[in-house]
Symmetry: C2
Subunit: 437 residues, 2 copies
């Protein structure tokens, strides 16, 4: 009996995968959703975890908790290692899982434009682990600067480079500026009164290049008000433990953070499919793999053009819409109904925040900046957070931070250690790297 039910497998419990699962809960398909992590992550607020504004629990929910009330959905914490298209089976190590319909929503990771060796010097921000590692690095840089007697070393430790002027880079640079300014003014003794140097580097001519030029100009001014230095028009030429090179200029920096590019998951490799330069799989108008109408690709691992021919951006609302669309196609097939028309992306607008009371909102004809955009940004992000308790906690934390300028999540879980070598100083780059690793 049960085995005659259609088997749908979803790979990835991000925005796309969860949205598909929720829509398929209304069908009688037997759905299995697989993820390498036990939680769904609200990535748009990840930069706030990295800059100690929010705690991990507040932006991540256990997948089992989210999908608890949907009895036809099974959840497996496991890693997909391949797909056997001919046998219609997903490979998980030695184990395989059969499917009738497959939705691949495996997301993306950072891309270093072929310079993968930069990854260790310039970590990116995609997972909670990334965010916690970044938080640790930023906080330990301040602590090391407080201990260090050497002026050059202190300056290096207090220099933060953010590579990439998209929303993530802008949000990170703004948040680091706010975090360090407050910390240096109130919480330290020797480095009190010093200023951290925050640089935002982008190869393009303006930040937030996907927004309209007036909003980019506003973001630039808002960043400069926060003390962020913008270096535009030149990409990063080199990256190592001690800093970066931009054109001919060498910048000594204790922290370099990568927000410059994403690379799709290995979905293309699993499927032996054609991908664009960022590794995203080209799909048909109904989001299926060419030649395989039973395989859907959605979210950041797919290169999608909507019915109008416009490329669909790699943002959460697009992934959600694609997930719901794929579920609709599958539901129509199960019901023997006519397939829906091609995927259409409804662009609800773009948002980015720079800092306290400073944000931009591009809502088609309506453009907002400053306080109205910031309130809109806060409301929209809280609205889309999953779980009532998370919403309540985030609102409380934001109100608290707004009133007190305080960041409560300034924890470094690990203890520092002097190791065996008495000659290693905490503030030396090698020791710092060791501590931060």
């Amino acid at each position: 009996m049960a085995s005659s039910r259609q088997k749908v497998v979803i790979v990835g419990a991000g925005f796309g995968g969860l949205s598909a699962a929720a829509a398929l809960a209304k069908t009688d398909a037997e759905v299995t959703i697989i993820d390498r992590r036990n939680h769904h992550l609200f990535q748009p607020l990840l930069y706030q975890v990295a800059t100690a504004g929010l705690a991990p629990t507040q932006i991540a929910s256990p997948i089992r908790m989210i999908l608890r009330r949907l009895p036809n959905i099974h959840i497996e914490l496991d890693e997909v290692t391949g797909v056997d298209l001919a046998a219609r089976r997903v490979r998980l190590g030695e184990r395989t899982l059969p499917y009738d319909q497959l939705i691949v929503a495996a997301g993306a990771t950072h891309a270093y434009f072929g310079r993968d060796d930069w990854a260790e010097h310039a970590p990116g921000l995609k997972s909670l682990e990334d965010a916690l590692a970044l938080r640790r690095r930023v906080l330990l840089a301040l602590e090391s600067a407080e201990l260090d007697m050497d002026r050059d070393a202190r300056e290096r430790l207090l220099t933060f480079v953010v590579v990439g002027g998209g929303p993530t880079g802008v949000e990170l640079a703004g948040a680091i500026a706010e975090l360090t300014r407050r910390a240096l003014a109130c919480d330290f003794r020797r480095i009190r009164g010093q200023r951290a140097r925050i640089l935002l580097i982008d190869g393009g001519s303006r930040v937030l290049s996907t927004f309209c030029p007036s909003l980019s100009a506003y973001a630039k001014r808002a960043l400069e008000t926060l003390g962020v230095e913008l270096m535009l028009g030149q990409p990063v030429a080199h990256c190592d433990t001690h800093g970066v090179k931009v054109g001919e200029a060498r910048i000594e920096a204790g922290n370099v953070i990568w927000a410059a590019g994403v690379q799709a998951s290995p979905a293309g490799r699993w499927l032996g499919a054609e991908t664009d330069r960022a590794g995203r799989v080209f799909v048909e108008k109904d989001l299926t793999l060419p030649g395989h109408p039973e395989v859907f690709l959605i979210g950041d691992c797919a290169s999608i053009r909507d019915a109008t021919g416009a490329p669909v951006p790699g943002v959460a609302p697009a992934a959600k819409q694609a997930g719901a669309y794929a579920a609709k196609v599958i539901a129509a097939r199960l019901a023997g109904a006519r397939a829906p028309g091609p995927f259409r992306y409804a662009n609800a607008g773009s948002l980015a925040t720079i800092g306290r009371q400073a944000a931009v909102a591009d809502l088609g004809r309506v453009k907002l900046t400053g306080f109205p955009a910031w309130i809109f940004w806060c409301a929209a992000h809280v609205w889309f957070l999953i779980g009532f308790r998370n919403r309540l906690q985030v609102v409380l934390d934001w109100v608290w931070s707004y009133l007190t300028f305080e960041r409560g999540a300034r924890l470094v879980f690990e203890a520092v250690t002097r190791g065996r070598d008495p000659a290693i100083r905490v503030a030396s780059p090698a020791a710092e790297a060791r501590i931060a690793s």
Copy 2:
């Protein structure tokens, strides 16, 4: 000018160190407090982080934030590697820090009664890292059991052994029973309806042996109501990756948790001082090191008898009182006043919680159990939490959990991985150990 001020160095920012620092803020001494971690940890609630009830941020506060308003207190994130008693200097790797008065409040870690090789199989609970590692292990055991088709392996994964029947062991066993019962009933498919097996093992004849026998008997009944099996009167004879041996009985268990003993920090070694078997340094009636009236030892690294000759227990209130006392002695010296009398410990009572609406409170003549004790326990722990926001968040979380039976912090930060070896199954002990490590 400034150099003529007395230099006080405090090692450790636990309950004892912070209490001393706060009291010394009223003097004109130049105080430096050193800790290996950037946060003060509210250890009494650590077991709730380990069992996904609370998030790390809720029970830990950055030391700099706590002491921000005390201008004569410097904070250093660093590791003490020794003390030069003759030169009156604390060693931190190659660096040294001079002191006129030294307060050592370096705390304790787990002790395995000489079987340090058990540490990897039976992790303990002293730091946030420990708690997060334990949370990961417990949650991954459930996930692995859900994937595993083999009945024996599933039973092993769903067996949790807690070693040690003191407050920490009782609290952990109760919380794991509540966590797993709820998760298995609501969040899983294949293992739904199964029951986790939780064993609490202690060599003594009753749990909570420092409480009066009637409260121990209540705790035993409350644990049994939660489904915890008690094995009393026999210590653990052996411990490995697959479980434990108690007397002749072998228990296969996916998780063994150590709550059986503490060992003082290396303070005794730093000072070349005489210690008891648990490594705690013997001190004079004024908490100073024999022969060194300028060196105080407080909290879990000191073996203290109060003025009445009774041993002072290793609990937070005792550490706080000792910290305040040491500061008072130092303040009297700075003021040229007469030294206060010997240290007296004011015992405010003992508390332990077993689970929802179940706790014991030994308040001298008054003994509470059940709901009244539980409310008292909640109120006391919230009261002593540092930081208004933490208190508010913990109260909200507890009220939420009470109403919904929900545990919001069920996160495993790391992704699982299949590694290179396709023959490794997630649920195998080796793979599980690898994932959990």
